[in-house]
């Protein structure tokens, strides 16, 4: 009789625990909004961008001209202090150093790239932090994101961006940019950062 009582006690406790677990889940599931697919895609893309600090790109500008770019997000020494910034290099000799909040210096390049907005070039080159931050902010605010046919669209400071996402991984593989004064597309590839690469890019010497 005593053993039976113990089983009744344990069985009843299990039922109560299961009820709390099940009811709690059902209440949350039925009352709270689930994030949209666009929000989840933005978070996945941002995670890819944050994971890789180096992005290689092939950019096609509106006039059909093709450029190769490499954007590295790293610690750089700016005005005697180590800060997080981005270095963008294009194969036409253009080099951009962007260290928030005040430093934005561009050197070299052709007349075409010099005439373009640095932000537009950074976006097209897939500079990770610029894109990741915007995606994270929009995901958190749950607005301004549109997902259709594996393409994620959003606005960033006057530019309209569309990321083409890899079907299986959700990683951004292409960028289409439309701005009032420029347009272009790019294909991007994430590259692991190595010490050798950093030295090649001249980051350690800055």
């Amino acid at each position: 009789v005593r053993a039976r009582g113990t089983w009744v006690t344990l069985g009843t406790a299990a039922v109560v625990v299961a009820a709390v677990l099940g009811l709690g889940f059902v209440v949350q599931r039925t009352t709270l909004n689930a994030p949209s697919q666009a929000t989840l895609a933005a978070i996945r893309s941002a995670t890819w961008l944050e994971r890789y600090r180096l992005v290689d790109s092939t950019i096609t500008l509106g006039n059909g001209r093709e450029l190769h770019g490499r954007c590295l997000q790293d610690w750089v020494v700016d005005a005697g202090r180590r800060r997080r910034g981005a270095i963008l290099r294009l194969n036409d000799g253009y080099e951009l150093l962007a260290v928030p909040p005040h430093t934005l210096s561009a050197t070299g390049g052709t007349a075409v790239t010099q005439a373009m907005s640095p932000l537009v070039l950074m976006e097209l080159a897939g500079c990770p932090r610029v894109l990741a931050r915007r995606l994270q902010t929009l995901a958190q605010e749950r607005h301004g994101l549109r997902l259709a046919d594996g393409r994620l669209s959003f606005a960033l400071k006057g530019t309209r961006l569309t990321l083409a996402l890899a079907p299986r991984t959700g990683a951004p593989v292409g960028i289409t940019l439309v701005a009032p004064t420029a347009r272009g597309t790019s294909r991007i590839r994430f590259t692991p950062v190595t010490t050798q690469l950093r030295e090649l890019l001249g980051v350690s010497g800055r």
Binding site: V17, V27, L40, E50
Partner: protein
């Protein structure tokens, strides 16, 4: 027979009338203190809205007279209520905020109220309910005079401004008290519901499991096997409730531990040496933001009050659960917000009530609490609670 029945019913009726009158007086007394505390907070919030300081709270929080009460974390609760959860790795995100309060905000919104209005009503009216439940629990455990003082002190406690913000503290305190009351009265089904709901509103709700476990053990000989099972279920209900949150996060955003991950972005990561880090990093924390002093004082105050409760004979499960509420957050490496977390430690207020037995101490507590409560609202725009 008729005479005997009549004779027996008179004292019973009188007793019931006495009991009703006593309850009415208790409600009036507790309600009176609630009015005093909330009036100070609401009036000061209106003054802050009109005169300042502006502080760090967003412009939107200055848009109406009670704006400061919907600042800081209230924004996150509103976001969860309106849009649900997302976890943004490495950034502060909303799974750190438990779901019961946002669900209640949604319920208010569904009947036509704004999220902020719903939150302010829930917190402030909920606090009246919480005070009454806390009074009843204290009376059952420690007697009438302790219950009177403890509920009065809680109503005007300086950190208690959080009970008027769009935060879940009022609801959690009420649920903790109701869970324990239900357990004392052997209504273990209700105890399970309240304990689970408390844990679904804030992680501190988990710690009510300890007093419930001891009550269940004490009642084991008078409960039937099935009732014992419900009691055991009630003890485990807070863990199950947090499990249901994990289950939901796993299904909605693909990460069952998102609530724990999100805490890390706030600099809260539990480790065995977290307490050492919290104390060790106090100098740096103070250099960065001197307001941390307020939370350090809160920790010391709560510990002193829990010690006073121990001296007053409060039972060990309550002491231990209250101690856990105050001390465990320090193992995340930070003193931040402990002043608010400690509001859910009942033993601290029983300790305060024990100290208040001395009429001079009683006057000091009342005299200090009222201006400090107003001051806490004045500085609310400068530092998160």
């Amino acid at each position: 027979v008729a005479t005997l029945e009549h004779a027996g019913s008179v004292p019973l009726g009188l007793r019931r009338a006495d009991e009703s009158a006593r309850r009415l007086r208790a409600v009036a007394r507790v309600g009176g203190w609630w009015v005093v505390g909330r009036a100070i907070i609401l009036v000061t919030a209106v003054v802050v809205h009109n005169v300042g300081p502006t502080g760090w709270i967003r412009l939107v929080s200055h848009a109406h007279a009670l704006g400061p009460l919907e600042a800081w974390d209230a924004r996150w609760y509103r976001m969860v209520a309106s849009d649900g959860y997302v976890l943004i790795p490495g950034r502060q995100s909303d799974p750190a905020f438990f779901p019961l309060f946002p669900i209640m905000l949604r319920a208010g919104h569904a009947v036509g109220l704004g999220y902020t209005t719903t939150g302010l009503i829930l917190s402030n009216v909920g606090f009246l309910g919480a005070l009454l439940a806390f009074y009843a629990l204290t009376r059952a455990l420690l007697g009438e005079s302790m219950a009177r003082r403890a509920s009065a002190y809680l109503a005007i406690f300086p950190f208690g401004f959080a009970f008027s913000m769009v935060y879940p503290e009022s609801i959690v305190l009420g649920l903790i008290a109701l869970a324990a009351l239900a357990a004392l009265r052997r209504r273990w089904g209700w105890a399970a519901v309240c304990a689970a709901a408390a844990a679904l509103a804030r992680p501190e709700g988990l710690f009510v499991a300890l007093p419930l476990a001891v009550m269940a053990w004490d009642q084991r000989h008078v409960l039937s096997p099935r009732a014992r099972g419900v009691a055991l279920g009630a003890v485990l209900a807070p863990v199950a409730a947090i499990g249901s949150f994990s289950l939901y996060l796993g299904s909605a955003i693909g990460d069952p531990m998102a609530w724990s991950q999100a805490q890390r972005a706030w600099g809260r990561e539990f480790s065995p040496f977290g307490f050492v880090h919290a104390v060790d990093g106090l100098g740096r924390a103070f250099a960065r933001d001197a307001w941390v002093t307020r939370d350090v004082i809160a920790v010391v105050l709560y510990l002193v009050l829990i010690a006073a409760a121990a001296r007053a004979g409060v039972s060990w499960p309550w002491l231990l659960s209250s101690l856990a509420i105050v001390v465990l957050p320090l193992f995340s490496g930070s003193f931040d917000s402990v002043g608010r977390f400690g509001l859910l430690a009942p033993a601290a207020f029983w300790g305060l009530a024990a100290l208040g037995r001395d009429p001079r101490v009683h006057r000091v507590i009342i005299g200090a609490s009222l201006p400090l409560l107003a001051a806490a609202i004045v500085v609310l725009p400068l530092r998160f609670p």
